[in-house]
């Protein structure tokens, strides 16, 4: 998720969302609330695409560490990339083919998976 570090700041400042508000927005938008019904096996497979860039992320990386990211926030950021509300074209391209089920599956995976090394 290149640029997500900046993106996290951006989405907070521009959308003024908190986790609770984001969760509410997902619910009223008919989105997949992260934990319920998310497909863990699908998330594990889809996560392999993320690992090419995010697997070695450090605190000062332009490509952020996404392991342990809360599901609601994860969903929020990926949806923002999909909508091109966040700027990085790599992540816009990655997110463009993810449907809500894919995003929920990834969010579940990364909240619980351990970062390698």
């Amino acid at each position: 998720m290149p640029g997500a570090a900046a993106g996290q700041i951006s989405i907070r400042s521009t959308l003024s969302t908190s986790r609770a508000i984001a969760a509410y927005l997902l619910t009223i938008a008919g989105g997949v609330t992260a934990s319920y019904g998310a497909d863990a096996e699908l998330g594990r497979y889809l996560s392999s695409e993320c690992m090419t860039c995010h697997g070695a992320a450090k605190a000062d990386s332009t490509i952020p560490n996404i392991f342990g990211l809360g599901q609601v926030h994860f969903v929020e950021v990926l949806r923002a990339y999909r909508a091109k509300a966040l700027p990085n074209p790599v992540m816009q391209t990655v997110a463009s083919r993810l449907n809500d089920e894919d995003i929920a599956a990834l969010a579940l995976y990364f909240e619980t998976a351990r970062k390698p090394n």
């Binding site: 889809l46 392999s48 090419t52 070695a56």
Partner: protein, 426 residues
């Protein structure tokens, strides 16, 4: 000939079985009852498949990786070594963590494949049987695609399109140039490894010459292609950072590449004969020999694959990933190889452990450095379609972008490098 089993494996290869996920003294019948994956080639394609199948099958598949090198130098980012942005050590990686993950490492050259007997023959004569085979040998060079060029000529006119000694030779020659020198690059025809690579390399040549204070040196690229990857942004960058230093000639300008002479340093085209102080000749390419000898390549020299799985179109038990494959719309790159490897690993894991498979998805991004903190990128997503791996969406850097975007691209590329080598080598 001997059949390589778990029982004699460590004696032959010097591998430590203590790190395998299976207990060391497990009855061989149990070990042999496991389905066997053999991977030939430990680069970004092969090593990724080996690691992912091992990890995702939780040790249920016996995975053997055959790679002669104990330390792998990445071709990707080698241009940054040419430009002085990276040292050699930072591009070299061992297989310690691949081994620790549970993969059997065999540091021996694979000699041939007997597809009827589902066996890989090692250079020493040992046989390694498989249930599924992944071939990831990378490229071989078509020496005679440039008249006068040969493996011997490469000692004078380096290609440096495979990492290691050739890259060292290129850097040595580059650093020895005096002001007023002429560098001539013979660019390769499509398809070839790393489409933006020759043009990033020319940028790194120019950076080194500029840094050394050269005022009169020149770089001429004679190209058999009418266009190249990220051309508009490369050419804009060349004019910005190295005005007048880099000249790109397409076939309409040079009229045809007639040949090279390693003894005189000459590069001949229809238009002119250039006497180069440094000639960098990058010939046409094809799949690695072992894949061609196994009958996996078509008349193009590369291996056709099923876009849903990365399976060879000529053998359902064999997968081809990375530069040796015909990847449809995907470029030949480390990123592509790593992406293709994950599709192959998922299918192999599903077939060998009777577990769940998912639709194939692929992606790629290539970053190229033009000058310090001026980095451009191109990327795309791909899925099976129209009988090939088809691009579904993508992006490319634009002319006139702000300096902070280009600087961010460079930082991102460095972070990507750290990410992908961790993904490949653990």
């Amino acid at each position: 000939m001997t059949e390589m089993t778990r029982r004699n494996f460590s004696l032959f290869a010097g591998a430590s079985l203590a790190t395998l996920s299976t207990p060391l003294f497990a009855p061989s019948v149990l070990a042999q009852a496991k389905p066997r994956l053999v991977v030939v080639g430990g680069g970004p394609g092969g090593a990724t498949v080996a690691r992912y199948v091992t990890k995702d099958s939780a040790g249920a598949v016996d995975v053997t990786l055959i790679e002669p090198l104990k330390n792998f130098s990445t071709c990707f980012f080698s241009n940054l070594y040419v430009g002085g942005f990276r040292d050699r050590k930072s591009l070299t990686h061992n297989y310690d963590n691949v081994r620790k993950s549970g993969v059997n490492l065999v540091h021996v050259m694979a000699g041939s494949i007997d597809r009827d007997k589902k066996t890989v023959m090692l250079a020493g004569g040992a046989r390694v049987p498989y249930d599924r085979l992944v071939i990831a040998p990378g490229i071989d060079l078509k020496w005679d695609s440039v008249p006068g060029y040969s493996e011997a000529a490469a000692q004078t006119m380096p290609h440096a399109w495979k990492p290691g000694a050739q890259t060292e030779l290129l850097v040595k020659k580059l650093n020895a140039l005096k002001d007023g020198a002429l560098i001539v690059m013979v660019a390769p025809p499509n398809p070839f490894r790393c489409p933006p690579g020759p043009y990033e390399r020319a940028s790194m040549f120019a950076h080194v010459l500029k840094k050394k204070g050269h005022k009169k040196s020149k770089i001429i690229i004679v190209d058999p292609k009418p266009a190249f990857s990220k051309q508009a942004v490369f050419m804009e960058g060349w004019e910005k950072h190295y005005p007048g230093m880099i000249e790109w000639q397409d076939p309409k300008i040079h009229g045809g590449i007639k040949g090279v002479d390693a003894k005189t340093g000459e590069v001949k085209t229809d238009f002119s004969t250039y006497k180069a102080a440094l000639a960098n000749v990058i010939p046409a390419q094809m799949a690695g020999k072992i894949a061609r000898d196994a009958g996996l390549a078509d008349q193009s020299g590369f291996c056709p694959i099923d876009p849903e799985s990365m399976k060879s179109k000529v053998d359902a038990n064999v997968f081809v990933v990375g530069d040796a494959a015909i990847p449809g719309d995907m470029p030949k790159s480390a990123f592509s190889a790593n992406s293709q490897a994950k599709v192959a690993a998922m299918i192999i894991r599903a077939e060998l452990t009777k577990s769940r498979a998912f639709p194939a998805r692929y992606s790629n991004t290539c970053w190229s450095l033009i000058a310090p903190d001026d980095d451009i990128k191109i990327g795309a997503s791909y899925e099976p379609g129209e009988g090939k791996i088809k691009q579904t969406t993508g992006f490319i850097s634009q002319k006139g972008e702000a300096a902070d975007i280009r600087k961010q691209n460079y930082k991102e590329s460095v972070d990507w490098y750290n990410g992908i080598v961790a993904d490949v080598f653990g």
